[in-house]
Symmetry: C2
């Protein structure tokens, strides 16, 4: 076979997958909440029953990863353990307790001509996800898509291929045991990169595409997809300590925002501090004690407390999402200067101000154009669970459709239903 | 200069335009409703004051269009007259009476830890529109974007270049008279097709791109844009007459849906009729009398009332959005067959069922996956004005962000605002 014929074959197979997904999506859209929850619970049970099979498959991926010299953090994200499988099952059980977003009435009224109009949430249809070698995402995104009445097509990282294949089989079998369509969860992993490319171009066949992973993956999907994309995750997060900020609050919030879980997107990456703030020494001392490496501008360098060392920051530091125990620190003359810095370098995820000045708090909230703007609290609260959404699909950093923490509703669209008794337009 | 240098220059100029748009967007976001409405009224007044200038510019475009052999419908869409300019001014006055979508609280609560959370509508930021030679769109989309607190970048058809340039100058001057930024309305028309290409690739600098026009224009934008797009307009609309449909209602609705304004997207294009429906002859007779050309399948051909002629339909008829006094007609054996036909050929805009069978109405509403699903009323009601949205940005046929009629709220995004007194995450 020539290469071209192989490509045509793959295109035909991916089309067959999207066709099956569309049919499964129609059946999922017709399933009520009780039925979908039964499916989620069946998957949770099956994951625990088959955890030896999952861990064996995962061991193969891990062995291959070690052989290929995969980095330790990447191996960690690839690793499943009994407690982690239990965590996946628990998350599905929790998902089953949440309200169903489908059927919710967004707005409705009886029009002057007697037409009854309502706009309701309905499933998106076919959701696709492209993600890196984190097998937990396979279960996580499938659960969220199913709960909201969708079919899902997955493309996980090649490094997790054995684990994902095992999980996929377990998910599909579990759905069938409760009479839901196995094809509500499918994968294009068998087609490698070409499968991902075809999914990105399947506008009309795939209703929304969610990339999950690092900056490169997300940018590749955004630039190459004709399917609508929801961009998630990148967070170059700022905290501005205003002149009036209180010391204890500033120390607590900075410690929490930087050190509680440095590897996630809502962790702070740059601290901006007003030149008249009285709290800088205490904050830097506490961060230094907690093992945070400081990257500071010259003005901060000049006032570093004794015994604390720091490297001099460059523009690269202002742009970097460290996702580690590193923090860039810059002194500013004013609130407008802080806002200007944020506008230049922020990814629009989360920014916070620590202040006791009401007017400054209001200006910051109004003028900082990010998904979440926080006053006097940790940036770590930008999280669907913390903000009461129940489940979190991701944190959108785009403005269309969803912005900030996304819940189940963001995996639905709407339908306008109009009922009359013969009305025509005048 | 080499061609490459020219291209680099254009790229730099378009970047300067998007930068100015961003700064203007920040000022617009800070303008309250009264101020924005003052701007809309100033534009309305200026359009009327300068209508001679507008009509003179329009005459140039029309003369060039005639010389180039532009079709009569396209020339009509290009034409401005005194009543049409009055219509544009009236629409802006009406827009000024509508509520401001900005600041509306989407949801809010006090969390268990005392954090006050609210999600509010904020302007999208920089909105771009690419459209064909309809100068009314220039005023229309600018008004909607300004009312919702955005800056807008326009790319109109080259055939309307003189008219658009005159309108742009009038809009910008009027904004300045009330202290709003002229750069809230800009154009890239001077850069021709390259301007459109650069706007489509300006992800981050442009927040949303709205193509308005025919299928080819929309598909070009969808396929080439890395900026999030809202797809609008294409409507291959179906009406299904069920066995139990009543005659008078069926005749009235079909006449209204096909003949009241055949050139718009919510006009019916295919009639599906149940084999046991008693009303077909009356409906076809009325449509024929109203000048509708029928494209029918063989079963309908076999029962055509005496004196009515029709052409035999092919697959092309099922796929076609005629936007004219043409209607495809097909007989089906059952509701599922009607739904299957709709799934195959519909663009997901609007479909209606005419029936007295409650169960069939419910099945149709549940299983037809279109932006609007109508029971016993004309498809012409899929319209922002008719459904109570006040103003209409367009009718979205995609599922992300907006589906069906889009109002001012769809030109906004949201921002999460979290206020605390030192809370950290446990």
């Amino acid at each position: 076979m020539t290469e071209q014929i192989v490509e045509q074959d793959i295109a035909a197979e991916v089309r067959a997958i999207t066709d099956r997904a569309r049919r499964a999506a129609r059946r999922m859209a017709g399933a009520n909440r009780a039925w979908k929850d039964k499916g989620l619970r069946a998957i949770a049970k099956a994951l625990l029953e088959h955890q030896d099979r999952i861990l064996a498959a995962n061991a193969k991926d891990l062995a291959a990863g070690k052989e290929n010299g995969t980095s330790v953090p990447m191996l960690d994200r690839l690793t499943l353990t009994k407690p982690r499988v239990q965590g996946l099952a628990d998350a599905l059980e929790k998902l089953a307790t949440l309200p169903d977003p489908v059927g919710n009435v967004v707005r409705g009224q009886t029009l002057p001509n007697g037409l009854r109009m309502r706009q309701i949430n309905v499933p998106m249809g076919v959701v696709a996800a492209i993600y890196e070698a984190r097998p937990n995402v396979t279960v996580d995104i499938a659960g969220l898509a199913l709960k909201s009445g969708n079919a899902v097509i997955l493309r996980g990282g090649t490094a997790a291929a054995h684990t994902n294949q095992a999980l996929l089989g377990i998910l599909r079998d579990a759905l069938e045991t409760v009479g839901l369509p196995a094809d509500a969860v499918q994968s294009v992993d068998q087609f490698g990169r070409e499968g991902a490319n075809l999914i990105m171009k399947a506008r009309g066949a795939v209703d929304v595409l969610i990339p999950r992973g690092g900056r490169d993956l997300i940018q590749t999907v955004v630039n190459n997809s004709s399917v609508p994309v929801i961009e998630t995750g990148e967070g170059n997060v700022h905290i501005f300590i205003d002149a009036s900020a209180k010391e204890e609050m500033s120390v607590n919030i900075l410690l929490n925002a930087k050190t509680q879980r440095p590897s996630v997107c809502n962790t702070v990456e740059t601290l901006l501090v007003h030149k008249d703030a009285k709290v800088l020494a205490a904050v830097l001392t506490a961060l230094n004690k907690a093992g945070v490496r400081l990257h500071v501008d010259e003005r901060v360098q000049a006032v570093l407390p004794a015994g604390i060392t720091a490297t001099l920051a460059t523009d690269e530091d202002w742009a970097t999402e460290y996702m580690d125990l590193d923090l860039a620190v810059k002194m500013v003359d004013s609130l407008p200067e802080a806002i200007k810095h944020i506008r230049t370098w922020s990814t629009g995820h989360t920014e916070a101000i620590l202040t006791n000045d009401l007017s400054n708090a209001e200006i910051f909230v109004a003028e900082v154009d990010s998904a979440a703007v926080i006053v006097n609290a940790s940036t770590r609260f930008t999280d669907g669970g913390e903000l009461g959404l129940g489940a979190e699909v991701g944190i959108s950093t785009q403005k269309l459709h969803a912005r900030g923490p996304m819940g189940l509703t963001e995996l639905t669209t709407t339908k306008w239903i109009v009922q009359g008794e013969g009305q025509v337009r005048g």
